[in-house]
């Protein structure tokens, strides 16, 4: 199974956290470090990495890796 880029960014955001990088169902709260504040930082990292900007609605709706992948694909970015 291939590691997608969003999961790689998750590793970059949480370098020391314990999680399975292949698990696409990971979401806010899956490990203690990933709380709502850190989640916002993570979304900003995703924005920066893809040079895009999410709307407030998109930010509120994205909770998991698969949500983020889906939002990115709606913006024409395939992972």
């Amino acid at each position: 199974m291939k590691i997608n880029n969003v999961s790689n960014l998750l590793r970059k955001q949480f370098p020391t956290a314990v999680f399975d990088i292949l698990d696409k169902s990971l979401s806010v709260g899956s490990f203690p470090e990933w709380d709502s504040l850190a989640h916002f930082n993570f979304l900003l990292l995703v924005e920066e990495s893809y040079s895009i900007r999410f709307t407030l609605e998109e930010i509120s709706d994205m909770k998991s890796i698969s949500d983020i992948v889906e939002t990115l694909s709606n913006k024409g970015i395939s992972i």
Partner: protein
């Protein structure tokens, strides 16, 4: 390495990599945003950086209905914890703030805006305090936000998404600004400016075009060279030592200095020079020996990128400025250069501060605060109980999902579950709103209690981080206890489930007199746990005897019952 406590009125994205730029200078400890009051009070032994947006402190709903005296009083009150700290602690205090609010240009054409007046009032108060306390460093962030573009620095979406007033770019600008101040606190300014001549002090090469052919003075590009020299002259008046390092015939250079009308600096302004054809790195060492000053206090300014690169490689301890090719930018660049800037504290300033500490004259008596509690007692904390009705269910849900710090069990209830809880008579649940002189904070607390005969179980107990440090949790707990005594409960059982950030809740329980149930007899343990028919325990259990409970700090609240 010194500890630097950072506290802020908004989310400054502490976990962002951008803050790592400060790590080499200080041991950084971030507070939670919104807890600036308690951070200012309990950081006397460390350096403190207080970052705020005026909008976060002074609620806009007060404006402009409130009269000037009121606003003045409000500002003084807001700054009083800062003044108390400065009186008590010699550790450096940095205050970084932004008070800018955009307005219609039409409204500003005939009268000063209320907000503008307020922000200038704040600024003058802060500088007045700074003139009395040398350990205070003011960082007017708007200076930098304007320079780099306020539209790029401020970010409304981030504010509504996560209470972060700035964009990543804005955070970057802010961190760089703070870094340069911290750097200057640790490192003295540079002392020596080393200048090239041709195409630096004037346009053209004097050895080729002669004194009449160089570009200097009058208008156009010549004026920009003259202005550059004016800034150099100004620096020398501030005490910067001027030196010249030029590959030229010495005679040609001094002829320009003495006979060209556009020259702003004189030969007598130049402390030392090496005008010859040797390598500049060799020459600069000679100058350093003549002046008896270390190379690390030298700044090298040269239009030639090759000379700059050679200097950087040969002598990295010299600060080589990466000057742009466009020389018209130079006057402003040199003027705003941080390398020579000092905090300009004279012995008179220091003396003044000593007097201040003895006679303390800044605030009126009203604004004198001895400690955190007496300060909190003056800010009119007015909490109010809000029943869990349909109109506030979604706020309750939001609090359950977003609160991490002051959250007893971090149970993320859905709207449906909360709806059921609000209709079930076994539950006691309510929200808490809070108002103080800084404005209406809205609904910021939420409690759910479930009754099992004589035992009540504290199912949810949380407070939004933006009002932490006001002891609101104590008030809420006292309300819970009142309600439970009315319905004949004897004990309140609390289960603390640790998440990454909520250690604060456990210490709160202990401060209020909760007892870990592992530390009491098996008889009472069974009585408590059997009442709930509890089989598997997840977190740590604490209980309190409701009739004996004495909750501290309630005297600071001005709620409806008083």
């Amino acid at each position: 390495m010194k500890e630097l406590r950072i506290t802020s009125s908004f989310n400054i994205l502490p976990s962002s990599k951008l803050w790592e730029k400060l790590y080499p200078y200080n041991h950084i400890k971030f507070g939670d945003y919104g807890d600036w009051i308690s951070s200012i009070f309990d950081s006397d032994n460390s350096q403190l950086l207080w970052i705020f947006f005026l909008e976060d402190l002074i609620s806009t709903e007060n404006i402009p209905s409130t009269n000037n005296d009121k606003i003045d009083e409000l500002l003084e009150k807001t700054l009083s914890p800062l003044v108390r700290r400065l009186q008590k602690s010699d550790s450096e205090t940095l205050v970084a703030w932004s008070s800018w609010r955009s307005s219609s240009i039409i409204r500003l054409t005939r009268s000063e805006s209320y907000w503008g007046k307020l922000s200038r009032n704040l600024e003058s108060k802060l500088y007045k305090i700074a003139s009395e306390f040398p350990s205070l460093y003011l960082i007017p962030l708007d200076e930098m936000f304007f320079k780099y573009g306020s539209n790029k620095c401020f970010d409304a979406r981030n504010y509504y998404a996560s209470s972060c007033r700035l964009s990543i770019y804005g955070i970057d600008v802010m961190v760089d600004t703070i870094q340069s101040v911290l750097y200057r606190i640790e490192t003295p300014p540079k002392k020596v400016l080393v200048l090239d001549c041709d195409n630096t002090l004037w346009g053209g090469v004097v050895g080729e075009v002669g004194i009449t052919g160089i570009i200097l003075g009058n208008d156009g590009i010549g004026k920009s060279f003259s202005d550059f020299q004016r800034v150099i002259k100004q620096l020398s008046l501030y005490g910067v030592i001027l030196t010249i390092l030029s590959k030229n015939n010495e005679f040609d250079v001094w002829e320009v200095f003495q006979n060209h009308a556009g020259m702003q600096i004189n030969k007598s302004d130049v402390a030392s020079w090496e005008i010859n054809w040797r390598e500049k790195s060799t020459n600069i060492i000679n100058i350093s020996k003549k002046l008896n000053l270390g190379l690390d206090s030298f700044v090298f300014w040269d239009d030639n990128p090759l000379e700059r690169e050679k200097m950087r490689i040969a002598l990295p301890q010299v600060t080589t400025i990466d000057v742009p090719d466009d020389t018209t930018c130079w006057p402003l660049l040199l003027e705003t250069l941080d390398d020579f800037a000092s905090f300009s504290l004279t012995s008179e300033d220091l003396n003044k501060s000593y007097q201040y500490k003895q006679y303390s004259s800044f605030s009126s008596e009203l604004q004198q605060v001895k400690d955190e509690l007496s300060f909190l007692a003056t800010i009119n904390l007015k909490p109010v109980v809000v029943n869990l009705s349909n109109s506030v269910l979604s706020r309750a849900e939001q609090l359950c999902h977003k609160t991490n710090q002051f959250n007893l069990r971090t149970i993320r209830y859905s709207l449906d579950s909360l709806n059921n809880i609000s209709k079930n008579s076994e539950y006691q649940s309510f929200l808490v709103g809070l108002n103080d002189i800084f404005g209406d904070h809205g609904i910021v607390g939420f409690v759910i209690v479930k009754k099992y005969n004589e035992v009540a179980f504290l199912d949810t107990f949380l407070i939004s981080c933006r009002v932490l440090g006001r002891h609101l949790e104590n008030w809420i707990l006292s309300k819970v206890i009142d309600k439970l005594l009315n319905i004949e409960c004897s004990f309140l059982l609390a289960e603390f489930i640790p998440n990454n950030r909520n250690a604060i809740v456990e210490s709160f329980l202990l401060d209020c007199g909760f007892i870990p149930i592992d530390e009491v007899g098996i008889h009472i343990q069974n009585r408590l746990l059997n009442a709930m028919r509890l089989s598997n325990k997840i977190g740590k259990y604490y209980y309190i005897d409701l009739k004996l409970a004495k909750i501290p700090f309630l005297e600071i609240f001005k709620d409806e019952n008083k």
